[in-house]
Every structure is written in C-alpha cells, then in structure tokens.
C-alpha cells in the first residue's frame, strides 16, 4: 500500500542529471536517436523531477496500469501515460534491444540518454478510450495517441546536457527542487497553483485571488504550460510575461504571487489531466490547486465539473483541489462577481478568454475592468517583439519563432 499523500509524489524528487564531465564519457559510442519537440519537453520534465516518481518513460506494466487503473504499477496514482514512441524501422536500424542505452538528441545535439528496459507495443485504441473516454479522432488527445509510432521504449532517462532556456522564459524556469527552495526562502508553506495557457483577464485574476482566500494560502503559483501551439493561440511569450505583470503592476502584492512554467503538451484529457496537473504541482511544492470549469477539457467531451468530482474518487493526493465555479462581469458591482455571491444575475455579462482574444483580434483594447491595461500593453509589446506583429500564433511564428529552449553542443 503506497501513500499517495506524500509530497513530492512518491516521497522524493527524482532528478536525473549527469555531471557535465561524466556526461561526455557516458555518451561515447552510443547510438543516437533524434527526438521531436514533445519528447524533448518530456525528457526535461522527467530529468528535473516534475514527473516524480517517474524516472523515465513508462514500461508496459506502468502504461497498462495507468490506462486501466489510473495508477502506476507501484500503486501511486498517475493518470496520463508518459511514453516514448518509436518506429519499428528505427528499432531495426539501430538494432535496439532491452539493456541497450540510446543517446537522445534534440536539434542535432545530445540531450539525454535512455536506458532501454523494455521494447513493447500497446493497443492505441485501448489507450485512447480509457484516457480520454472517447475514440473520436476529433479529440486532440485521441489524435495524438493514434499518431504514436507503432512501438514504445520504456526505461530511465538521464539528462546529459541541460537545455538552455531562452528569454523571456529563462527567469520563470524553476524545476521542483529549486522552486521548493524558493518557497522555503520566502517562507511560503501553503501555495495554491493556477494552471494556465492564457493571457490573464480579470476573471482569471479574480479566481486566483478567490483561491488564495479559500486555501488560506501564503501565495499563488502561476504555472504556465509551455508546449505545442496551435494557430490562433496566444504566443507563449505573451502568456508568461503578462502573468508576471499582474504582480509587477500591483494587482497582486509582491510577496504572494509568482510565475513559473511547465514543459508539457496539453492532452485535453479533462478530469484525468486535472489529476496529472495536481501531481505535477504537488511536486513543485504546491499544497493546493485551483480547478475551474472545464479544466483541461475540449469541446463537449467532459462534464463542466468532471475535473472537480474526480478527486472525490481518489485517495488523498497530498494537494487539495480548490474548486472554482461560475463567475461573470457585473455592471452593478462594477467588477467580476461569483454567481453564488452576486444578486444581480439578470445583469450578468459573461466573457471568456476566447471572447477577449476576439476583441484584441478586432483591434480593440478591452476595458480595464476586463483586462488590465498593463497586460494589454505587454500583449502588444510581445506581439512586436516575438510574434511578428501578432500576439497570436501564426504559421510564420510556428516556423520561425524563437525556440523556448535550445540544447547547446556538448
């Protein structure tokens, strides 16, 4: 019987980072395999301990247990398979077998090693249906699952060449050990996590402040997900600098707010992804996690509050879910209000991140009661500086945008 309440998950932050001198020796003569950006991000997240207790990519027993029981084979709760997929052709070309070590390269340079414990296959339909609750290709997580190459390599990952996190992201890169040290330095014992992939509007700000109250927290940790982007999303640079601006512009006091990032490609797995987010943020040192409506959902695949209810079915995860409900802009109160608290429901003016994006896209500055002017200025500044004039992801941003991380030559 394992204790899921341990913080970090499993009781220890798993850091798998080789010393630079030893790294050069370690990789000599290893067959190398170039990896795509999603896998590179997951290698970084594993190596720095965000995914503790994982030490590497899952073996079949872990995958099967996660898919069917939402636990690792060891019994610790885990909701999303973390897998390394590879073409059968590549296995043949490299002559890969159990017991071998591969050098994983990213953009031509060594990033990490993978000690192969198992080469296996898994039924992708079973994986998709259990994790996402659907087999429809319209679901982006199902599409991602079906796009996996036919085979998987399970085994431990060790970073041999730490990536360089590029500006403006570098000052927000706090891996779990470092972030826990920072919390300790600031004497933050109760920290509520806010998951984001959006530029903040005042609805977000209100929810974060509400969660801070509800958790009786010392601070709010904004943890921005940095991963694959789609055309029309806000550019990552705008997301991270605007969240930080809520503090620097005084909407949050200096000593109760911090912005950080997580390398992760959203799966849109709704309640299962909420569990994953909770575990990762616990590893970062958070004690609470805010979940709004439709957390990590997509379309109409999940009930609006499925991500709230799933925690009632699980053992104590050592991080407390703070549940946020409906809110709106109330012209009578002249501010954001909670539906349960405000008596002017007939006057409610509802808005969303998409609606704010739509306003900005039309060349209009949203009113300050919906969108802080400092945030708007930074969105437009980021557009010029990083987005080729647009604060939203365009085809040219996807092709030529500056990378969030680069791996230097070793």
């Amino acid at each position: 019987m394992v204790d899921n309440a341990l913080s970090p998950h499993g009781g220890t932050i798993i850091e798998r980072l080789e010393e630079p001198k030893a790294a050069k020796e370690r990789i000599k003569g290893l067959p190398s395999l170039p990896i795509r950006s999603q896998l590179a991000r997951e290698v970084v997240s594993i190596g720095y301990g965000y995914f503790s207790p994982l030490e590497g990519f899952m073996t079949q027993a872990d995958v099967d247990s996660v898919v069917k029981k939402m636990t690792l084979a060891s019994g610790y709760v885990w909701s999303i398979p973390i897998v390394f997929d590879v073409e059968e052709r590549q296995i043949q070309e490299l002559g890969v077998k159990q017991g071998d070590t591969l050098l994983l390269t990213y953009e031509g340079n060594p990033l990490a090693t993978l000690d192969i414990e198992e080469v296996f296959s898994y039924d992708l339909d079973v994986m998709a249906e259990n994790v996402y609750g659907t087999k429809e290709d319209k679901h982006p997580g199902v599409r991602r699952t079906r796009a996996y190459a036919g085979r998987f390599l399970g085994g431990k990952v060790t970073i041999v060449n730490p990536p360089k996190i590029n500006p403006p992201f570098d000052r927000f890169f706090y891996p779990p050990r470092l972030l826990r040290e920072e919390f300790s330095r600031r004497d933050w014992k109760r920290v509520v996590a806010h998951q984001t992939r959006n530029v903040p509007h005042t609805g977000h700000e209100w929810l974060m402040k509400g969660a801070w109250f509800e958790a009786n927290a010392d601070a709010v940790l904004v943890n921005a997900v940095i991963g694959e982007k789609r055309a029309g999303d806000y550019i990552d640079e705008a997301i991270i600098v605007t969240h930080d601006a809520l503090r620097t512009a005084g909407y949050f006091a200096e000593n109760i707010h911090m912005t950080s990032l997580l390398f992760w490609d959203m799966r849109y797995a709704g309640p299962r992804e909420a569990v994953f987010h909770a575990i990762v943020r616990k590893n970062l040192g958070c004690t609470h996690h805010m979940f709004g409506r439709d957390h990590a959902g997509v379309g109409t695949y999940y009930d609006s509050y499925a991500a709230h209810r799933i925690f009632e079915e699980l053992p104590d995860l050592g991080i407390y879910p703070v549940k946020a409900f409906e809110w709106f802009y109330c012209p009578e109160c002249a501010g954001i209000a909670y539906e349960e608290q405000c008596g002017h429901k007939e006057a409610a003016q509802r808005f969303s991140g998409s609606l704010i994006r739509s306003i900005i896209q039309d060349g209009v500055q949203p009113p300050r009661l919906l969108f802080r002017p400092e945030v708007f200025e930074l969105v437009m500044e980021s557009a010029e500086k990083y987005g080729g004039g647009s604060p939203f992801v365009t085809e040219s941003y996807l092709e030529r945008g500056d990378p969030v991380m680069t791996v230097p030559a070793l």
Partner: protein, 100 residues
Amino acid sequence: MSEETFPINIWINEERLEALNKAGVAGMTKDVLAGLKVIQVPANPSQRDDLLKRYPMAKCDTATTKTIELLPREVKDQLLELVLKKGSVDVVGDLLASLS
C-alpha cells in the same frame, strides 16, 4: 419556435465607430462588457457550421457566451461593410454567398 442564432461579435473601435456614424447607423451598436461597443450579427446553425468550416481558427463559445468568436479581422471588416451597405445586421447569408 424560432431558430436558435449564434451572434458574431464585431467589436467597435474608433475607426469602425466613425464609419458607423458616417453611415448613420451607429445606433445599431450595443454597449456590453463594461461599456464596450459591439454590433452583433446573427448566424443560424447552418451558417455557423459553414463559417467554422471555412475558418478553422474561429470557434463557437458554446460554454459561456454562445457567440462565434475569433473570425479573422478581414472577415469581420467584410461583415461590417455589408452592415453599413444594407443598414441591417442580417448579412451572414450575403457574406457566405460572396465567398462561394
């Protein structure tokens, strides 16, 4: 029972407000969201589906506002031109006809 419609929000900046004033139809705007001005152009379900298919980056915000958002700015400009020309917000059919 009347058919459900999904408004397209055309947000009004100074430039657009000037055009509306010139055409004498500035009264068609509504004040929403902390005083922000908007013209709402209704789309029926089949027009909504057609627009979302043509412009995959657009989305119908079914959860919160029931509006069609994130149409490209040039499409909004086209819609506004049609509103100014017709003096009516019933212009999505005209837009789609001009595109096919």
